[in-house]
């Protein structure tokens, strides 16, 4: 079994997989930080070289992960302290976000599938200002500076017959944002990461990522403007969960001196294709996380 084949959208998990098998890899730097107040662990993985990108199976760029175990529990609000950390990171990744700037926020995913509805939920809660500033000027908000925020939920291919990337590309060409921020529900490798991890990257969205497996890229190359992607893992691929459990048994077999360990026959997990694992209370979780992320964006764009 090849661990690299186990699917994960998280750079953090990809790095762990590599370390397990190959040890440290050149071209990848890692910084960790723990914020006492918000109880958030922040890990910054930078893939600096093509070798690093190949090892990680992710493009070169910066991947910042926030881990907050409390995130998946209801609090009396929406985890404002975590939203503030996210806003802080976003401001670093979006250059000069305080200036008047047109920003398009894209909510990827399928509104009709609970675990995939994170992106649409964020756009639903977002403070949209582009049309007002264009018609009345920033004075409408009694502010000295006001970004022009627009938002779109492109839907999924089964609903539209189009790749989300086709729709976004057209909208970007027509409305000329300077930055695109994409929100998506992700697949993790481990259930322990579900709903308590936020990944923010300046590399955009890669083909094959997300709960819905987007086939086309949303990147600076494809859209012509910087693309920040924000994701939260809400599912694990069903085959991944089974593979990981088998791998545990295999190791214990090895430790116990069992030599012959029969693998599952090829294709034994085929029936798990297109299936994923998610939590029973995913509806409340996605509702809460959507609200937290939309507040983080509102703060980062300084409109709330």
């Amino acid at each position: 079994m090849n661990c690299f084949n186990v699917r994960t959208d998280l750079a953090l998990e990809a790095r762990e997989s590599i370390e397990e098998t190959a040890g440290e890899v050149r071209g990848i730097t890692v910084e960790e930080d723990y914020r006492e107040k918000s109880e958030v662990r922040i890990t910054k993985v930078v893939i600096e070289t093509k070798n690093g990108a190949k090892a990680m199976q992710k493009p070169m760029g910066t991947y910042i992960t926030l881990e907050a175990p409390g995130m998946q529990e209801p609090d009396e609000g929406y985890h404002r302290e975590i939203a503030e950390e996210i806003a802080h990171i976003l401001k670093q990744l979006i250059p000069e976000a305080e200036k008047e700037k047109p920003i398009l926020v894209v909510g990827l995913g399928n509104r009709e599938v609970t675990a995939d509805a994170l992106g649409p939920g964020v756009v639903d809660n977002l403070f949209i200002t582009r049309h007002v500033v264009r018609e009345y000027g920033k004075a409408a908000y009694s502010r000295e500076q006001m970004n022009l925020i627009s938002g779109i939920v492109p839907g999924v291919m089964a609903q539209t017959g189009m790749e989300a990337a086709e729709i976004i590309k057209g909208v970007v060409e027509e409305t000329n944002p300077e930055v695109v921020v994409v929100i998506d529900a992700l697949a993790a490798r481990s259930t322990r990461r579900l709903n308590r991890t936020v990944q923010i990257t300046n590399t955009g969205i890669q083909p094959g990522s997300g709960v819905g497996n987007h086939r086309n890229a949303l990147t600076k190359e494809s859209l012509g403007v910087p693309v920040i992607a924000i994701g939260v893992p809400t599912v694990v691929d069903a085959a991944t969960i089974v593979n990981d459990a088998l791998e545990k048994v295999r190791r214990e077999n090895a430790d116990a001196g069992v030599e012959k360990f029969p693998s599952l026959p090829g294709g034994a997990l085929n029936e798990l294709n297109n299936m994923y694992v998610t939590c029973k209370d995913i509806d409340e979780t996605v509702k809460r996380l959507s609200f937290m992320l939309s507040e983080a964006l509102n703060m980062a764009f300084e409109i709330a």
Copy 2:
């Protein structure tokens, strides 16, 4: 009071208003037909000249209206016989619709406002084929011919910060449909027309039309391809209803020999701005009409 100021999206009503005040107008032809079997009255208004367009306050082109009193009542299905009439008309307006042809269906309006959710509802029920035909060929459907149907619900400006027209323009440029079909909930002048009238026109969508008052056009000029618009009136402007009631009283006053008839002071109806009148069972009505229209489109595109 100027009847022409009373807002209606229906060419049929615009013509009636003109006839009431000005009699027959040159440059406008009208044909009527009654289908016994489906109990549908079909009126074809063609605006042939610029003068006609000016009088009607609508652009030159063909406007076909189906009136079916039964349409607003639940039937045991979805009024298949009316759907068939609509499909028949669409086939005439979409040249060679039987050939393999990329068609984009746009569901205008606000999914969150019941009376304005007709367009989104139609796209939700539509048989979407573009992605399948592009990936597997028409053979995927065991058909000799198969149109490539895509669909989009652009949302409204308060949700996206963008004009629906901006989004559609971008999507059309990126995905190259040969025809665009736009569905929208309309405003009628008379409550008698609500939910029992379908207007089909080859002139697209004009600025200021629809329940949500779209400000930008969706026309052949703006999109570069033919635009068929299908609309059902689901609301009446609140000011229109009051004006019409006052007009009735005024006429009776005149008949009764009352000379001085004080008008409402200017601005008396201002508080009715941005208000509309709709039916209490609008949820069931819009659900049923959406399904009827989506079936009509499926038939017209020969995919059901």
Copy 3:
């Protein structure tokens, strides 16, 4: 024309109608208060006698109205200051609400009709605790006192085949709350009151009230426990709007010395039956008001 026939669910408006025609009425006391900080006008109407009830066409009891012009505008939150005033009033009407007490919150209305979706929206946002306290005790919330809050959205008769009152009665008998709080969207007489007025009464819900015209009562008599009703007018009956406009013209006619003023023939407004007037941005308004009311309830029940 009999002004009393004009439909309103607001005691405030009923009293105004009476004063216009009959002057002050015995058995009705009125207190007004203006809160500078929150910019809220609070009017307390108490109907103390059967005569007062007859004149007002509303049952004896206390009706407290909050008028806040700002309420219908988006604020950067959800009008917390108004929510606090509502919570304060609720605490007075719910005796000893601070004690551990089972309270059932009912969200009346039709979730599928935007203007009628206020009640369902409030229950969706409410902090529900009954099941947790029953299973783990109030210790689950680290509180000394914790009310047991349950919530239900009974739907409307077209969806369920049952009166909301039948469903609520059964649920009350089975789960034994000590108080029932009912939330409903109301019909006002004047568009000026829409979405900026909250009525709180200890008389429950009367037959024929609400956007959906509930036919059965939800009162202490019918349910056996005190019923607090909270309503916000989101619609005006279409016939009411026309009647009021005609009445204005009629008065000006009278002032201008016109003697014969022809009424509309009986039944002229029949086509407006079952139609109502609402605002174009009713989706955002109802979303915001639902959230404000659910926060007010959370505060009143001391669980947030």
Copy 4:
């Protein structure tokens, strides 16, 4: 490992588990039938004795299962032929369903979680007649006989603070249906059964069944009237999938002569508690299955 611990709501799968380990069991009869036309396999399992019930871990009664591989694929309609088979079975289980009879249909599950939204979807599409027949008599439908159909979606405990069973009990006592039909999304043991199997039983709903793990029973004992339960498996418990994969490996180990096979340490799968596996296109599947079941009910109740 004890196969009996593997959770399944399907009597069919419970019987298979038993046969694997214990062979045929007394007190359980099985009849199979294959319908060529509709390509549906129908299996009728009757648990006739307490011993049988104990072995099956299901109460005594009749369990009819329809297996239709085509069911999970879109067809050009909604699989009318399968709906007809279901209607046929329902008519046998509901005695004299052709007579005028009050029937309450309950849509269990969580509307906000796609895989659990089957029950709510069925009630949404159902033809509700109780209120009309009660007000206007069966003449309203120009029928000689007309059942009085009511429907309710009780929601889940996290939303209401109440067990679905408490709500249903109250509603049954208040509205007196003669039969209750409960629809629920189920958990299967095998992914191969997902979305292509319908189980119909006259034993009602047992504690711990369903996607949402209902804790209270909905049975003739608890409600006082016969309860027919209709379920479609839409999920598999995550731990079950891993257990089954491990079991396969274990058997191959045994076949290969490996003696020591280390189990997973106790609690190794704890992190999979409250997690389930479902399909990526669960939104379209549940939409289609809901419609199929509501049509089956409409046919069984002879109202469509």
